[in-house]
C-alpha cells in the first residue's frame, strides 16, 4: 500500500526544483512549519472523531496532514487493499472495477486546494443550530494527488445521458441511520474533480478516507467522499437524507431562527468568500507596528484582495497577499498595523474573491449552519 519512496523521475524533479529556487526562497519554504507548542488538535467528538485545527496552527500554505481537521459521519474504515476496488457503473458502456494499481497507471493529476467542512463555523451562529459546533478550524489547504475523475469515467465509456455522478463511500452507518450517499453535477466532476490517493505526498491517511477520496476543488467538504468505492454516473441526482434534507441552503436566507421549507432550498456547492485571522498580538504600543496574519478562501479560483479595518468597517486598507497560489487554494495574507491611540482596538478583516464577491459583515443564518463567513475580529490592547 505505502508509496513512501519517490520514483527516480519524481526524485530528479524534486531535486531539480530545489536547485532552481534561490537560496533565500528555499530557506523560507523549508522553515515554514507549525511550532511545537501549536501542534495540537481540538477534539469536538471522541467517536466518531471530529476535530478541528486551532486557528493559530493554520499559518502555513500547506496544512500538515496530522494537523488537518477530521470529520467523520461514522467510524472510519480500514479496507483490505488486496481486495479493494473502485467500481464504475451506471450510464457507462463498459461497467468495470479498477484496482488501486490500475488507477495509478492512468495519467497522474495533482491539485493544491482548500478542503473546508460545510459546517465550519456552525458554533458561531445565533440562535444555535444542532450539529458539530465547529468554531472555524474545520478547514485546511493540501496537495492532492491522484487521477482525474474524467479519465476514470472515460475508460468506462461514460455516456452523454450522465448528468449527475453518484458517489459511494464504504463507511457503514449504525442502526437505521441513512447511508451517506451523495451526487454532484457531471459538469463540475469533468472539469476538475480527482480521485486522490495521496495527501501532501503521503498515502491518504485513514481518517481522510484511505485508500482514495474524491477531491472537488472549490466545493464544500460534503462532496469529497471518503473511502470511495463506487462511482455511478446517472441522469438524475441521488436521493436520500444527505441529498434531500442535509447539505441544502435557503434560496433566499431569511431571519435568524426561521424555518425554511424544503422547496425553498438548493444544494450547497461552492464555498463562500471568507478570511480568517490566525495571528494577532493581544497587546501593542502606540507608534510600534504589529503584524496580523490570516488566510482567505472562496469557491472562486482566487482571492483578489484582503482588507483590514480598525474603525469598525468605515475604512479599509489592503493586506499583503502571499504570492503562493493555486486555483481554489487559500491565500495567506499579512497586514502591518500602526496603532495610533491607546485603548482596546478591534481589527476586522474581509476578503474579496476573483469574481468580485465580498465577505459580508454578518454570515447569513441558515437552518443547518453552513459556511459561516462573517468578518473575523482581533482585539488588541494598545498601551500609550
Amino acid at each position: 500500500m505505502a508509496r513512501f519512496a519517490l520514483t527516480r523521475r519524481e526524485f530528479l524533479a524534486a531535486a531539480g526544483g530545489a536547485l532552481l529556487l534561490p537560496p533565500a526562497a528555499f530557506a523560507a519554504a523549508a522553515a515554514e512549519s507549525v511550532p511545537k507548542d501549536k501542534r495540537r488538535m481540538l477534539q469536538l467528538n471522541g467517536y466518531a472523531i471530529d476535530a478541528e485545527t486551532p486557528l493559530d496552527a493554520l499559518t502555513t500554505y500547506i496544512t500538515p496532514n496530522e494537523l488537518f481537521f477530521v470529520r467523520h459521519h461514522w467510524n472510519p474504515m480500514y479496507p483490505d487493499l488486496r481486495r479493494w476496488t473502485l467500481a464504475v457503473d451506471g450510464e457507462v458502456s463498459s461497467p468495470r472495477e479498477f484496482t488501486l494499481a490500475e488507477l495509478k497507471k492512468l495519467p497522474r493529476a495533482e491539485v493544491t486546494c482548500v478542503l473546508q467542512c460545510a459546517g465550519n463555523g456552525r458554533g458561531l451562529f445565533r440562535p444555535p443550530i444542532p450539529g458539530v459546533q465547529w468554531r472555524g478550524g474545520a478547514v485546511g489547504n493540501a496537495r492532492w494527488t491522484g487521477v482525474r475523475v474524467k479519465d476514470v469515467l472515460e475508460r468506462a465509456g461514460v455516456k452523454a445521458t450522465a448528468r449527475h455522478l453518484h458517489t459511494f463511500g464504504d463507511d457503514k452507518p449504525p442502526e437505521k441511520v441513512p447511508p451517506f450517499h451523495r451526487s454532484l453535477e457531471i459538469e463540475k466532476v469533468l472539469a476538475d474533480a480527482i480521485v486522490a490517493w495521496e495527501m501532501n505526498g503521503q498515502p491518504l491517511p485513514a481518517q481522510h478516507g484511505t485508500p482514495v477520496r474524491l477531491v472537488v476543488p472549490g466545493w464544500a467538504g460534503d462532496h469529497w467522499m471518503k473511502w470511495l468505492v463506487r462511482l455511478s454516473p446517472q441522469p438524475e441526482p441521488q436521493t436520500g437524507f444527505y441529498m434531500d434534507t442535509a447539505y441544502r441552503y435557503p434560496k433566499t436566507p431569511g431571519e435568524p431562527g426561521a424555518a425554511v421549507a424544503p422547496e425553498d432550498t438548493k444544494p450547497l456547492t461552492e464555498l463562500f468568500v471568507k478570511s480568517s485571522i490566525t495571528e494577532a498580538p493581544p497587546a501593542a504600543k502606540v507608534g510600534t507596528a504589529v503584524t496580523i496574519r490570516g488566510f482567505a478562501l472562496s469557491g472562486a479560483p482566487d482571492i483578489a484582495k484582503v482588507e483590514l479595518s480598525d474603525d469598525g468597517g468605515e475604512s479599509w486598507r489592503d493586506a499583503d497577499l502571499d504570492p503562493r497560489h493555486d486555483p481554489y487554494a487559500w491565500r495567506l495574507w499579512s497586514f502591518r498595523w500602526q496603532p495610533k491611540a491607546a485603548g482596546r482596538a478591534t481589527l476586522l478583516a474581509r476578503a474579496t474573491d476573483s469574481r468580485g464577491s465580498v465577505q459580508p459583515k454578518e454570515a447569513a443564518w441558515n437552518p443547518s449552519g453552513y459556511l459561516h463567513n462573517a468578518w473575523p475580529a482581533a482585539q488588541i490592547e494598545v498601551a500609550s
Binding site: L44, V132, Q133, P205
Partner: protein, 129 residues
C-alpha cells in the same frame, strides 16, 4: 583480543567524527523527538461524561450508542430543538423506550439549553502523518 578491540577503538577515535558516525542503516531507525506535547491525550480519547441528574441513565444508553458525550455537551438547543433531535434519532434507531422519551428531552434541554457554556473541546495530540 582486548588489546585489538582497544586498538580499533583508538583508530576510530583518531580517524575523527567522519568515521565515528553511526552507520546509515542505524540512523534510519533512530526515533525522532516528538514534535508535539507527548502529555496530550491522543485523538479519539474520550474524557467527557454526561452530567449527573435525572435522565442521565437514559442519555447514556441512547446517545452514547453512536456519539461520545461531547456531542451532547456542545449543543445549545431549545426544548423544541431537542424534541426534534431526539425524534430524529429515535427514527434512526436510538434506544429510547417510549416511556423515557420525555425524561430524555427534559434532561437534554435542562443541561444543554441555549445558555449552555460548559463545553470545551479536548486538546489532543496530532496523529496520522
Amino acid at each position: 583480543m582486548a588489546a585489538s578491540v582497544l586498538a580499533m577503538a583508538l583508530a576510530v577515535a583518531a580517524a575523527g567524527p567522519m568515521l565515528a558516525k553511526a552507520p546509515r542503516k542505524k540512523a534510519k531507525t533512530r526515533v525522532a523527538p516528538a514534535d508535539f506535547d507527548v502529555k496530550l491525550p491522543v485523538l479519539g480519547t474520550n474524557l467527557q461524561e454526561y452530567p449527573a441528574g435525572p435522565g442521565k441513565a437514559v442519555a447514556d444508553v441512547a446517545c452514547l450508542q453512536c456519539h461520545s458525550a461531547s456531542m451532547g455537551l456542545q449543543q445549545r438547543l431549545t426544548e423544541k430543538q431537542w424534541t426534534g433531535t431526539v425524534e430524529k434519532m429515535m427514527r434512526w434507531g436510538a434506544a429510547v423506550p417510549a416511556d423515557k422519551k420525555a425524561e430524555l428531552i427534559a434532561y437534554l434541554a435542562a443541561n444543554f439549553g441555549p445558555d449552555n457554556d460548559r463545553f470545551e473541546p479536548t486538546v489532543t495530540r496530532p496523529v496520522g502523518k
